[in-house]
């Protein structure tokens, strides 16, 4: 079974704090993704990475950065958390190329910024 894990299920932070969200996958997938999900807005891609040390901006990268030092781990960083970053954050991974691209999701981290 593909397993994607995220470091926290629930997180509460204060405005201005630096926040790290960790994601680990155990299937040797090349691609990893960070989404946020908000009511009425669906899933929106923040950043993705198709290889170690590679990253690409998604649709809403502002206010976020990412790090991929190892293939199995993809971190999302909020340099200075703001209340509008309160959301559900979902990590996903997939294998590379072809028509496959089936993404497997982690359980999500519900972040609240006060």
């Amino acid at each position: 079974d593909v397993k994607v894990t995220q470091s926290s299920r629930y997180l509460v932070k204060r405005t201005g704090e630096k926040v790290f969200l960790e994601c680990v996958q155990d299937m040797d997938h090349e691609n990893m993704f960070w989404y946020r999900q908000d009511p009425g807005l669906g899933l929106r891609l923040i950043y993705f990475s198709y290889d170690v040390k590679m990253k690409e901006k998604g649709d809403i990268p502002e206010g976020y950065s990412v790090s991929r030092e190892k293939k199995e781990r993809f971190s999302l960083i909020l340099e200075s958390a703001s209340t509008n970053q309160t959301s559900m954050y979902l990590c996903a991974s997939s294998s590379l190329g072809g028509g496959e691209n089936t993404q497997y999701f982690g359980p999500g981290t519900r972040l609240t910024v006060l």
Partner: protein, 110 residues
């Protein structure tokens, strides 16, 4: 611009009803279409469709793709309250990003 559109956005049915969820797409270099089910947690994978006209089936769920008309449907027969969820349709872009539809929220009442 690549896009995926789902309809309806929400649906309320009673147990035992059959539902059909729609997903249309406009994507460059289409290769596959994915369906996910999302309850109060992360999306779980249901089906991947790559070929027109070939039905994929899993229990009471089935799905089919029409590459000529650029859409897919997800059918759920004999619905149960446990089918209540958001159903997401997604199509991979060239870069491996998934382009998601808005989702269809299905509520099945007892």
């Amino acid at each position: 611009e690549d896009k995926v559109v789902q309809s309806p956005l929400s649906l309320v049915v009673h147990e035992g009803d059959t539902v059909t969820l729609n997903c249309s797409y406009e994507v460059t270099n289409f290769r596959s279409l994915l369906w996910y089910k999302q309850e109060k947690k992360a999306p779980t994978f249901l089906f991947m469709l790559t070929s027109s006209g070939i039905e994929k089936k899993s229990g009471r769920l089935s799905s089919i793709l029409d590459k000529k008309e650029l859409f897919s449907i997800l059918n759920i027969t004999a619905t149960q309250t446990g089918d209540s969820a958001v159903y997401l349709c997604a199509v991979p872009s060239n870069t491996g990003k998934l382009i998601f539809g808005q989702g269809t929220t299905l509520q099945v009442k007892p």
